[in-house]
Symmetry: C2
C-alpha cells in the first residue's frame, strides 16, 4: 500500500490505529499537543501546542482521520479547503459534537431516544421538568465526556444548582431519565464503496462515569443485535460515513434507546484486536485507505477490562489464561486510561473465573468484582 494517514490526536486510539496500519504498509502522522504522546513511537507528531499552523501536518498525508470527536471543525475545514480528504466526513463530526443535533438526527431516522428538550436558560429547565417529569438529565450540548458536563435533577430544588453548574455552556439539553437495565454499544464500519460491517454488541459496565469493562458478545443480545445493526446502518448511510462509528444504546423495557454516537473507534471495541477476525482499528484504517473491509465476527466470547489510574503487576496479568495486555505508555494519574486487558480464554466457561481473578489483581478494579458473574 505504502501510504500515509494523518490522524488528529495521538493518544491510545491513534496508537492502536497505527499499530493496525503497520502490517498493511500504511504509516500514520499525528497532530497532537503532547509530543511524547502514546502514538509518538509509531509516526511523526506535529505538535498542536507550539504552533497552530496546520500546514505541515496537512502536507504529511493525502488522507486524514481522527481519534477525538471534538477535533475542531475549523481545523477540519482548513484541511478540506486544501484539497485533502478526511474520514469520517465533516458532517458526521459536526453532528456528533452537538448532543441536540445528534438527538434530532436519531429522531429523524426513527431511532428511539428518550424524550428531550433544548435548554437555553433557567426558565427552559423549569419547562423541561414540567413536560418530561423528574428526574431529568441536564447535559451541555457540546463538550463533556466520561460523565463530565452533566447533572441529574431529581428534585425541584436542584434546578438552580444544575443551572449554576452547567449554565455557562449556554446550549444545554434536558433528557428524560431512562430506566434501563444495561448499556450496550454497537460498532460498525463503512467502506468507501458503501459496504457496512457490524461487530457483535458489547455490554458495557461503568464506574463513576468511566468504562470499566465490556463483555462481548453482550449476554442475551440475540434479539437486540439485528435492531442495533439496523439503527447504526441507517446512521452510516445517511451520513455517507466512511470509517468506524460507535452507537451507545440503553436496553429498556421498551427496547433499545440510542444514547449517543462517537464518530471514531471506541473503548468498547478494544476487544476486537484479538476477539474479532478484523479489529475496529484495522477496519477503520482499511476504510480510510479505501481498502475492502475485513470480517467482524467474534472469534470467542471476550471481556475487555480497562486499566485506570494505576498499573497492575504485569506478571500477574500475563499469568491469566488467554490474557492480552495493552499498555499505552502513559504515566499514572487518577482516572486516567493507562491500558486495557483482553480476556479470551480457550474455554469461555472460564471467563467469569478469570474476571474474578483479575478483579483481585487490578489496583483499580472499578466495576469488576471478585464475585461477578457473566
Amino acid at each position: 500500500m505504502d501510504t500515509t494517514i494523518g490522524i488528529f490526536g495521538g493518544g491510545q486510539l491513534g496508537r492502536m490505529m497505527a499499530q493496525a496500519a503497520l502490517p498493511l504498509n500504511i504509516h500514520c502522522t499525528f497532530y497532537e499537543a503532547n509530543v511524547t504522546c502514546p502514538s509518538a513511537i509509531l509516526g511523526k507528531v506535529f505538535t498542536s501546542h507550539e504552533s497552530k499552523d496546520l500546514k505541515p501536518f496537512i502536507e504529511s498525508a493525502p488522507v486524514f482521520s481522527l481519534e477525538f470527536e471534538n477535533t475542531p471543525l475549523n481545523e477540519v475545514d482548513e484541511l478540506v479547503q486544501s484539497g485533502k480528504k478526511i474520514y469520517p466526513p465533516r458532517q458526521a463530526l459536526a453532528i456528533a459534537q452537538n448532543r441536540l443535533s445528534e438527538k434530532n438526527l436519531f429522531k429523524a431516522l426513527d431511532i428511539p431516544v428518550a424524550p428531550f428538550l433544548a435548554v437555553d436558560n433557567l426558565e427552559d429547565i423549569h419547562i423541561a421538568v414540567e413536560k418530561l417529569g423528574l428526574p431529568i438529565v441536564l447535559k451541555t450540548a457540546m463538550g463533556g465526556y466520561d460523565g463530565k458536563g452533566q447533572f441529574i435533577i431529581r428534585t425541584h430544588d436542584q434546578i438552580s444548582q444544575a443551572w449554576e453548574e452547567l449554565g455557562a455552556a449556554k446550549s444545554l439539553i434536558a433528557e428524560s431519565f431512562v430506566q434501563f437495565s444495561r448499556e450496550v454499544s454497537i460498532i460498525a464500519v463503512r467502506g468507501q464503496d458503501g459496504d457496512v460491517k457490524t461487530w457483535p454488541l458489547a455490554e458495557n459496565h461503568h464506574h463513576q462515569g468511566i468504562l470499566s469493562h465490556s463483555i462481548v458478545p453482550a449476554p442475551k443480545s440475540e434479539s437486540l443485535q439485528p435492531v442495533a445493526q439496523e439503527y447504526i446502518t441507517r446512521l452510516l448511510n445517511h451520513l455517507d460515513y466512511v470509517g468506524v462509528l460507535t452507537l451507545e444504546l440503553f436496553v429498556t423495557s421498551q427496547g433499545l434507546y440510542a444514547n449517543e454516537m462517537a464518530p471514531r473507534v471506541h473503548n468498547s471495541g478494544h476487544w476486537s484486536i484479538e476477539g474479532s477476525t478484523c479489529s475496529q482499528f484495522e477496519n477503520h484504517i482499511r476504510a480510510v485507505a479505501g481498502l475492502p473491509l475485513g470480517e467482524t465476527d467474534c472469534i470467542r466470547p471476550t471481556v475487555m477490562v480497562n486499566i485506570i489510574g494505576q498499573h497492575p503487576k504485569i506478571d500477574d496479568v500475563l499469568r491469566l489464561e488467554g490474557a492480552h495486555l495493552h499498555l499505552y505508555n502513559k504515566s499514572e494519574r487518577v482516572g486516567r486510561k493507562l491500558g486495557h486487558i483482553t480476556l479470551m480464554p480457550h474455554d469461555s466457561e472460564n471467563l467469569t473465573d478469570l474476571c474474578r481473578k483479575l478483579a483481585k489483581i487490578l489496583p483499580e478494579p472499578l466495576a469488576l468484582q471478585s464475585d461477578m458473574n457473566i
Copy 2:
C-alpha cells in the same frame, strides 16, 4: 514494563518482534547494516554498516536477542563481556551455526537424524558415498539457508562437481538422503523460569528451497505432536534455552527425523500472530523480558502463505474471507520475502477454497496451487 530489548538484525522478524513488544511497553533497538530496514519504523537502528563499534548498540538496552541465527559470535561475546544478557544463550547459537555440532547434539539427545558424516576433503566424500550409499546431500557445515550451500549427489560422477561447488567452505557434512513424505516444524518457547510451551506442528511446503506456505495444525499430526514436543523440550532444557526455538523435522516411514534447528522465531510460525492466543513473537519477547509465557493453542486451522518477489494486489488479498496481510515494507526482488498472508476463515472448511483463490491472486504462488487440497 517500560524496558528495551536490543535485537541483532532489523528485518521482518525484528519488525514483528517489535510489533508484539509494543503493547507490553517494551521497545526495541536494532543492529543492522541497512538503516531503512523493515524494523526501522519501530525503534532506533544502530548501523553495523558504517561502524563496527558495537558499544552504542550495547548501551541501548539491558537485554538482547536476535532475528538471525548467523549473528557473529564475536559480537555476542563482546556483549556478554560488557555484562549484558542475550537470549537465546550463546551456546545455542554456536551449535545452530554449525550443522555438524547440531547433528551431533541431536544424536546425543536421542533425537533421530539421517546418518551423516563429516567431510573435510574430496576423499571424505567418496567415503561418505560408500558408507551412506547414494543419493547423499552435501552441505556446508556453516552458512547457507533457503536451499543455498547444498548439493544432492545422485551419481558417482557428480562427486567432483559437488566438491568444486562446496569444497571452498572447508567443513562440510554428508547426509543420507531421507525419503520423507513431508516436512513439518515444531516451535516452542522456554521462559527464564524454565516453563516450556509448544505450538502445534506446522506442515511446510517449499518451492525451490523457499518456504511457500505452512498449514497449521499439520494435517494428520496427532501422533507426531507429542513426539516432536518431546524432542524440542529436550533441546530447550539441555541448552538452558530462553526464547523461541524452531525444529524442522521430516516425516518418514520410520517416524520423525530432525533436519535442523533455528534459534529464533521462524517463518513457519508467522501463522501464530492471529492463529494462536499468544504469537511466537509475543512469547519470544515475554521470555527475553523475563515475563510469564502465554498460551500456544491454535484458535482455528490456519494457512500462512509467503509473498515472494512481487506484491499481489492488496485489494484482492483483503477481499478473501479471514485474510490477514503482513507487509514488511521491502522493495520487490526475485526470491525476496516481502510479506505473508494468514488465512483463518471462520469456517475452516473454506481453507482449501481460499488457498485456491489465493493461488490465482499471487504473482508468485510458489507451491500454492489452484487445485490444491488440504
